[in-house]
């Protein structure tokens, strides 16, 4: 994941753990992957924003949750 990762609002809880949900947009032409916060309406195979590297249209290839890492 090469793009900067903004810290998304907390979305999704599961049991006691808190999760951040991310959407991965992938460029079919150059393979660049962009990780951003999940937005309502996102779904896998939906068209994403244009690729930041080559300008081609990207597609959402993955949506997943990662546990929130607590700052020490």
């Amino acid at each position: 994941m090469s793009s900067p990762q903004p810290s998304p609002p907390q979305q999704g809880t599961s049991g006691k753990a808190k999760f951040n949900v991310y959407t991965i947009e992938e460029c079919p032409a150059c393979g660049q992957k962009t990780k951003r916060a999940f937005q309502v309406g996102d779904y896998i195979t939906k068209d994403g924003a244009n690729c930041s590297k080559c300008g081609n249209a990207t597609k959402i290839t993955l949506i997943y949750a990662e546990p929130v890492v607590k700052a020490k």
Binding site: G12, Y43, E66
Partner: protein
């Protein structure tokens, strides 16, 4: 002086005899009322758990009402209708003569699903299909929690009424598992509301990778299929139609491909999420033989029937996860299994079939948040 010694001796004597009496009395109390005391303690324990269940049940009902109000601008107040839904019963067919019972069960569940969907559509006339499917899922969660609460309450009250220690202890023993499942259900509401993929959606995610560019056709209710070429084989890929929260009818679809479309399949590969055992790691991948599909069993029955009749081997690829992970937002550990699953699919196709063969790949599970 002697008088004083005498007095303290006497006092000591009194205390020990008093203790003796207390000890004997408590012995007597425990023999006679022991079970009642335990009934009381166990009952308290269950009552606390029951309260938790009630909170979860009420929350899921509220979430359902809020979703309907927030989504559809439903005509009128949906609360009464939702409450009626929560009490909806499905009467299973008689199993005294089990011959042909799967068809009956299928008929009943289909009628129920159709009924629920048409009612939800009526309440949300202008909503998109994805919102209707989410509303269906949330209603289903709310009615499951309602049912769990009702059944636990029934046995709790029955146990108390009849002073049945055995009944209450049995209930107390299964309460932690019941609470765990209820907790998973209530957590699932958040994921469904946002339309995020759930852990169970790993099968559809895998399948969608093979479907992207090919034209889609509907092969069964809520189920789509593509036909493409893969390493010289014809690859039929099917999954429920996304990004709605559907599970589709893969059993009907596979049967239709083999018997109505007359495709002589050489192999069926099914990818599904599977419940892990305690101690197993989330995202572990297991391979196997047989129809990998859960649910009430009608789809499994159809796949087993048609595959054994036409001698088509059925291979299964399972991605392990807990019940909580299966119905809440997709974890990274589960998606991390994708590469391994794709490799396994490639290997299976290359090893078990030859060029020119026809292979069917089915991604089983709830396809919420996963298009094709």
């Amino acid at each position: 002086m002697p008088a004083l010694t005498n007095m303290s001796l006497q006092f000591g004597n009194n205390v020990s005899s008093l203790l003796n009496i207390v000890w004997l009395l408590s012995f007597f109390v425990f023999i006679v009322y022991g079970q009642r005391i335990q009934v009381y303690i166990v009952g308290n324990d269950i009552s606390r758990a029951l309260n938790k269940l009630k909170l979860m049940k009420d929350r899921s009902r509220k979430e359902a009402v809020d979703y309907f109000n927030g989504t559809g601008k439903a005509s009128g107040d949906p609360t009464t209708r939702i409450d009626e839904f929560l009490e909806y019963v499905t009467i299973m067919p008689v199993d005294l003569d089990p011959q042909g019972i799967v068809g009956k069960i299928e008929h009943i569940t289909e009628t129920r699903d159709e009924r629920v969907r048409s009612e939800v559509r009526k309440m949300l006339p202008s909503a998109e299909p994805i919102k209707v499917s989410v509303a269906e899922n949330i209603l289903e969660i709310a009615s499951s929690l309602n049912m769990i609460h009702k059944i636990v309450r029934h046995y709790y009250l029955l146990g108390k009424k009849t002073n049945s220690y055995i009944l209450l202890v049995q209930l107390q023993m299964i309460m932690p598992q019941v609470l765990m499942e209820a907790d998973a259900l209530i957590n699932a509401v958040d994921t469904f509301k946002l339309g995020q993929p759930v852990g169970d959606g790993i099968g559809p995610i895998i399948a969608s990778k093979y479907m992207l560019t090919a034209p889609k056709q509907v092969v069964a209710k809520d189920t789509v299929m593509t036909v493409s070429e893969y390493k010289g084989r014809t690859l039929y890929v099917l999954k429920a139609e996304g990004p709605m929260g559907y599970v589709g009818e893969p059993g009907v679809a596979i049967q239709r491909v083999i018997e109505e479309m007359n495709v002589p399949l050489n192999a069926i590969i099914m990818v599904d999420a599977a419940l892990k055992l305690e101690g197993e790691k989330t995202g572990d991948v297991a391979e196997g033989i047989g129809a990998a599909i859960g649910g009430i069993g009608t789809d499994k029955f159809r796949i087993e029937e048609v595959s054994s009749k036409h001698k088509v081997p059925v291979y299964a690829i399972l991605v392990k996860q807990s019940i909580l992970e299966a119905i809440t937002v997709m974890r990274k550990e589960i998606t991390d299994a994708s590469d391994r699953v794709h490799t396994l699919i490639g290997n299976l196709i290359e090893e078990k079939t030859k060029e020119g063969d026809k292979v069917l790949l089915a991604g089983i599970g709830n396809t919420l948040g996963v298009g094709q």
